[in-house]
Each structure stands twice: as C-alpha cells, then as structure tokens.
Symmetry: C2
Subunit: 263 residues, 2 copies
C-alpha cells in the first residue's frame, strides 16, 4: 500500500444509497437484508468498498430497543422532563445509559455513554422506531457490531470491505447534527499526516484527519432521517486497511478524557 499522500490523490468518490424495504427486526440478519437490498437494486459490492450503516437498524436487529412503558422514571427524571415538556421515560433511559452527565441545562442533556461517546440523551432515540412505543439504544458495542457485519459479508462475498456504523450527534459551537462513526471495522478511522511534509517542505504538526467521521458525514447525504435508506456504499475512497497494532475501531475516535479540554 502507498502512503496516505498518494492515496489521497485518487479520483472520484461515489456514495451509493441502499434503500431497504420494510422494517428490520430483532434477530434478523442485517447482512442478509442488506445483500438482498443491494441485489434488488442491481448493486454489487466490490473489494475496497465501505459499507456505512445507520446504527438504528443495527440496534433493532440486535434487540437494543426498550419498551417505554416498562420504564419507571425516577423523581429526578420526572422533574427534569416536566420542566421542559420531555418524555420522562426517555430522560430516565438516557440517564441509565450514561456513565456521567457532561451538561444538563435548558432541556438539553449531554452525557458520556457507557462506550465513552459524548452526545445528547446517551443516544437514546424514539424517532424512526414505532411511533413512540419503543426507544432505540446505541448498540452495546458498535465496533463488535461492525466487525460481525464485515465478517458476514466477507464470508458471503469473499471480498474485503470496511464497515462503519453511524449516529447523528450534535456538537458544541455549531448548529445542526452531523453523522459520526460509532463503530468501525476493516479500516483505520484516523489518517495521520504528522511528520509528513507539504510540498514546501513544511512538516505538518497537528494533522490527524478523522476519516471515518468524514465518511459518516458523506453517507449522511444519502441516508435520510425519514427515507428508508439506512445504508450506503462509499466507493473509490482508498482507506488504510486495518492493521493489528491496535488503536483501531470507532473507539479510536473517542478522545481520552485526560486530553479533553471540554469535559
């Protein structure tokens, strides 16, 4: 494999939506559903493709969903929810899925999840589920989910693809949500330019690019929040295939708390 420099001088990148008919339910094989969908669209995976999947279908297939009427909110959750017109059961679930509250103000609850993600409501979401009866949680371990999906596709297709599982996160300072990679398999999520030199010989100091998050955002352009397009193929992007030196997976995108100036 070449250096990141030569890789990045590549050609066109394509983002190809995978529309899936109908819901995906607990116990269903996500790889089988996605393969069936691609076939019915006349698509064929190629070696080096990146499959990007919204976490919601992963969570549904894995059963990471909770019936809201089984949740008994604490007094604290009830009072918080009442104050801002929220569903106390969702607030309660968000607290249970967190290991720490980062901010709780103006009706917004920012937590650090058990995985280490910092996001609103611990990623607990009621939209695109079943109209308010169930909430979807983040997958228990989205790197493992990505790895399983990758292995299943590899076995069936006998090719190497990378898999990214995404969620929509807000961010400080900027309006709007963008997609982030919460699970990654088969590729390095970060592209490290440090030590490389630009064409003027200047050494790049602080350049580590979160390519898996950029790929997640690119996927967000075709994977709609309302449309039945929970996945896409990104083709033409020459990623660095996973090596065994560790520091891989979506976990590598989480900044360790000790290096973080904002929590």
């Amino acid at each position: 494999m070449g250096s990141p420099v030569s890789k990045r001088e590549a050609g066109e990148v394509r983002i190809i939506p995978i529309a899936v008919k109908g819901e995906i339910h607990l116990g269903q094989s996500l790889s089988a559903r996605l393969l069936a969908a691609t076939r019915s669209l006349g698509l064929r995976f190629r070696d080096g493709d990146i499959l990007v999947v919204k976490h919601k279908v992963v969570s549904k297939a894995e059963g990471a969903i909770v019936a809201l009427d089984e949740i008994r909110p604490s007094k604290v959750s009830e009072s918080w929810a009442a104050r801002y017109g929220l569903d106390a059961r969702v607030s309660e679930l968000a607290m249970r899925e967190s290991r720490r509250v980062v901010r709780q103000k103006h009706g917004v609850l920012i937590t650090e999840t058990r995985h280490g993600f910092v996001c609103a409501n611990s990623g607990v979401d009621v939209s695109n589920v079943d109209g308010g009866k169930h909430a979807v949680l983040l997958p228990a371990n989205s790197d493992d989910s990505a790895t399983r999906l990758r292995q299943a596709l590899k076995k069936q297709l006998e090719i190497e693809i990378a898999v990214i599982i995404t969620d929509s996160f807000g961010r400080p300072w900027r309006e709007g949500l963008t997609e982030v990679a919460i699970g990654v398999a088969g590729m390095q999520p970060l592209l490290d330019y440090r030590g490389l030199r630009d064409r003027h010989g200047y050494s790049l100091h602080a350049s580590v690019e979160a390519v898996a998050d950029e790929l997640a955002c690119a996927a967000g352009l075709v994977c709609g929040k309302l449309a039945g397009t929970p996945a896409c193929i990104i083709r033409g992007y020459s990623y660095t295939r996973e090596n065994r030196r560790g520091n891989s997976g979506g976990r590598a995108l989480i900044r360790p708390a000790k290096n973080d100036l904002f929590r």
Copy 2:
C-alpha cells in the same frame, strides 16, 4: 421543489476532485483558475452542482496571508509559545485574529474568531503556504467570498451552483480534524426536519442536519492536505436553494453563544 423528504430519497452522490496545477497567488481569479482546471480535467459544471473549496486557496487569492517576520509577539505569546515549543509569531497572530480565548491549556489555544468560529489558533495556519515564511488567515468574510465565487461562475457558465468554503477544525470529545463549512452561498446550510413525521407518524423534535458541514466532510475525502486538490464538485445532492428569508450562509452554522453550553 419537493420537500426535504423526497429530496433525500435521491440517487447516487459523486465527489469529483479538481486538481489544480501550481500555486494560487494574491490577485489571481480563483474562478478562472478553477474553470481552467476543470476544463483541463475534462470536467464540466452542471446546474445544481456544489463546488467545495478549501479556504486556503481563497485566502491566498484574497491576500489573507501574513509575513511571519513582520509579527512582533507580545511577552505573553512568547512565554506561551516557549513553554510548548511553538512559533510565538503564530501564537501572536492567533490571538490577534481572535475576539475571545475559549480554552488555553496543554499547548492548545482554542479561540472564538472575529467571525464567531470556535477553532484552534483562530484558523491561522502555516502548512501548505511557503515552508514557514507566511501564515494564512481565514478569509475576512467567507460567506462573501463564497458568494463572489458563485457569482463569477454563474456569470461565466450561466448555471446555478452552490459554493462551500471549508477549513479543518478539531472538536471536543473526538479525535482528529474534520472539514467544516465556513462560507456558504447558493444553498441552505441547515436542513430542518422539525415538525416532519417519520413513517410511524412520530414527529421529529431535534432534527436539524448541518448539511453544509456534511458536504464539507465529503469533500475532505478527495481534497487532500498534501495533494494539489484544493476543490471538488459534489454532484447529485439535491440541496435546498437559498431563499431570501435570511438565516443562510456559513454564519447560520455558528451556534449563538447564548444557546451554547460549552463556552
């Protein structure tokens, strides 16, 4: 135009790199250089294309660069830079370009720029300039820059395209830089799903998507930090064309300080 829902059920999105030979200098017409580059690549802009340009070439063409040996650092900048092995002139410039320091710790300086962006070193950058003699600043008004570029292309080509100017920003909680839209013209930077319902009839509460930032990230996949590819065309994404109700431009992506829990 249809609703955001039907738009998002569209087909494939393509990210087409525009390699540009040689440097871009003060006073040069960026639109002419980009048009020449596309022509030499056999590319042709189409109505509805999005042109994404790294801010560095915009800043260079507009003369938003500073000779570092003309900068006399303050005692404070010198002491900060000495402590962490930084260039005191760059630290000084970063302070001058800021209106407020958000965090300054462990050798990292996060400021709010005069435009309102929150980023490292006020966006002052020495890489990909001329080997350390000059620093590039953010464009004075990147929405105006985007608008001028859009108008120039519209005049020459007689088609409507959108223009996004980008920079690489870090973010709290997550490792690595991603591209963000610092200037936007010809399209709405935010896609607002609030009030729409999912296919289960559940109303989407908190869904505003920062599409201009997602487009910026998609562009980051082909516009390299080292390669001579400062721009790309994104084709096939059905954006919402700018209306006159305001709240447009890259400015709309900046969260007002009063709504921000992290500054």
